[in-house]
Symmetry: C2
Subunit: 254 residues, 2 copies
């Protein structure tokens, strides 16, 4: 058995990122994060470099619109996968309480055993009334097992928050007429394009940020509706792409 | 034990990428690829999206300069890690023969057992005279185990090709006065910035491409020297960044 543990020097310029990487890697051994989930995490890291690893104002504005949708919903659901669980279980549970919304476990790499592991991990972190152990319904428009979902969860939801979801499922949720709120660092992804609101931000920053907006908007129904009607996701994504270019593109005076 | 295997539909828009992902994930079980190597692979995938997953002319030009350096070297070495082995062992072996250059295994997550596994994997793919099982020397300027290297390999090399190397080691090689040729999809990385020539391209495209240039330049010493003296890595990286922006930035008429 090869051991992968390593000491990470606090002097390393990417210390925080390396610690998260090591933690995500360990969660593969626990069956929480899928190995290909690590690859997805890496893609996110790259796009986060292009944001300077911070929440930019455009992303914060989208987070506020997402919060407005979550409060306006009659049946809001947060869909959680392995990476979301590994990165920020506590923050997702806290957000679900604040709205309040149901949480449903939906895995890209599905097995009953893995669902159980992820559910137990979330319950140990404080989650209650989790959905996802039973998946009695199916979304139209996806051939794979990922069509499966909980009847009381995403199937009946009018608003679904999908942190780190794949494009097939995001598209199927949108075609089912749901308001899809994505958290996705790739502004070119199908998930970002197919969602009603794409929050292009790193998950551990975005989720507490959405919760803050939920608390601020709780007693402001008019502002919520104005935020929702004024929002244009294509324009949001265009602005995010411009912001990423600003960091990537060399300064004109060079 | 959670099983992660899954069927991938050939209709999936990212079929080729998904197949590579599954293969890299399986190589973690074999001890060839490190779990955090999967995260690094994901970062590369994201930057490759921004290239349209193709070798752009600027990257091809850098590959030609890298080939010129490899042919001009008196002691060229190709340094190989777990990801490089998993992605393109055969192409790296073929390139080493074409130059000819020595190959040395250098792992970020080092253990004698893992070095042995990677060496055996490469030998099964046809590698001969591999260096790296013994690491008798140390590079200055790195505190960690990654300072270690083979005396006959990177320690004595005048030109080192580093596919997918980390920034610390790339910097130490450069400070040791070596010509550092990097293959790295991130044009903002320290590895790309600290190298003499950064080929910003996906490894399985870049390595055969460098070999093609080696064959073309073999009998053209004057062209080789002109290529080397005309090359400016900062300008190369600037052009790569501009090219990535072109895909990221929305079209002006939108």
């Amino acid at each position: 058995m090869v051991r992968w543990d390593m000491e990470i020097s606090k002097d390393h310029p990417r210390y925080r990122s390396l610690v998260t990487r090591e933690r995500m890697s360990r969660l593969v051994d626990e069956g929480i994060v899928a190995p290909t989930g690590l690859i997805a995490h890496g893609r996110g890291e790259a796009f986060d470099y292009l944001l300077g690893e911070r929440t930019i104002p455009v992303a914060d504005a989208a987070a506020r619109v997402a919060a407005a949708h979550l409060l306006e919903a009659s049946h809001p659901v947060i869909s959680v996968n392995g990476n979301a669980t590994g990165l920020c279980a506590e923050a997702l549970i806290s957000l679900a309480r604040a709205i309040p919304a149901r949480m449903e476990v939906n895995l890209f790499h599905y097995s009953t055993e893995r669902v159980e592991r992820v559910c137990r991990y979330l319950e140990a972190a404080g989650a209650r009334d989790l959905l996802g152990r039973r998946q009695e319904s199916r979304l139209d428009g996806i051939a794979s097992d990922r069509a499966r979902c909980a009847t009381e969860g995403t199937y009946q939801a009018d608003v679904v928050l999908i942190p780190l979801e794949d494009g097939d499922r995001a598209g199927a949720l949108a075609r089912a007429g749901k308001v899809v709120l994505a958290i996705d660092l790739n502004p070119l992804s199908r998930t970002a394009a197919e969602s009603s609101v794409a929050v292009v931000d790193e998950l551990t920053r975005a989720v507490p940020n959405i919760e803050r907006h939920v608390n601020e908007l709780r007693d402001r129904p008019e502002e919520r509706r104005a935020l929702i009607s004024d929002f244009n996701n294509a324009r949001n994504l265009e602005r995010m792409r411009k912001a990423m270019c600003a960091l990537l593109e060399p300064a004109p005076n060079k």
